[in-house]
Symmetry: C2
Subunit: 136 residues, 2 copies
């Protein structure tokens, strides 16, 4: 639990039992998960607590959210160094077969030449297709 605790405190999040559990579950995932996915990993759980836990994690940049177009926002762990600035962002991939949403952490979002006087804050880029697992 020491590791989990450290990760939380290093992001200025008080390590409660609940938060440790949620962080552990998030750490196990190979794909991004939604609030209701998370809810189903608990036998008895309160959606609101999980919701607020995710919000806290996101505000403190422990996790980032992905709007993959499925109607439910997904969440995935940030890298240790991540500050969620435009230069930290990567492309996400949604597989239309297995319905999983992956971080393509190694693929940075390409820079865009916006029209004059447009300033940029954030970019969301989701590629839809079939992942390598589902391509035979």
């Amino acid at each position: 639990m020491k590791d989990t605790d450290d990760k939380l405190t290093s992001r200025n999040i008080k390590p409660t039992a609940m938060r440790e559990l949620v962080l552990d579950i998030l750490t196990e995932q190979t794909a991004a998960i939604s609030l209701s996915d998370l809810e189903q990993k608990f036998h008895k759980s309160d959606k609101v607590t999980l919701y607020r836990t995710l919000k806290t994690f996101e505000e403190n940049k422990l996790i980032h959210s992905i709007d993959d177009g499925t109607g439910a926002v997904k969440y995935a762990l940030c890298k240790e160094s991540c500050q969620c600035h435009p230069e930290d962002l990567h492309v996400h991939f949604f597989c239309i077969k297995c319905q999983h949403t992956f971080c393509l952490s190694d693929i940075p979002i390409p820079s865009i030449n916006l029209p004059v006087n447009f300033s940029i804050e954030n970019i969301n880029m989701v590629v839809k297709g079939v992942c390598s697992n589902c391509n035979e």
Copy 2:
């Protein structure tokens, strides 16, 4: 009404009074609009009819939908030649000040080198920031 009719029939959509009205409203817009935005442009209207009208338009590639992360899907007219294939897609911009969502029709989505065995179907790219109107 002849023009509107032609646009509908050329996309294999039967030109009803309702659909003409909706298409006219969509044509007037400078920014993408949501179902509830559309609903408010009618004095008396049925959300479901508008919803199905938009679905029909989208299926027939008269309009495309944009998930800008606000929680409500936005819609905007496609160009005449658009088939909504990856090569037809453009970047979208969401202004965090005026809350408008624009098509940056001249900015194609940059191509991405996906990992091996990933195939691509579609890309959604939304840049958030401040538009030129709102930047003083």
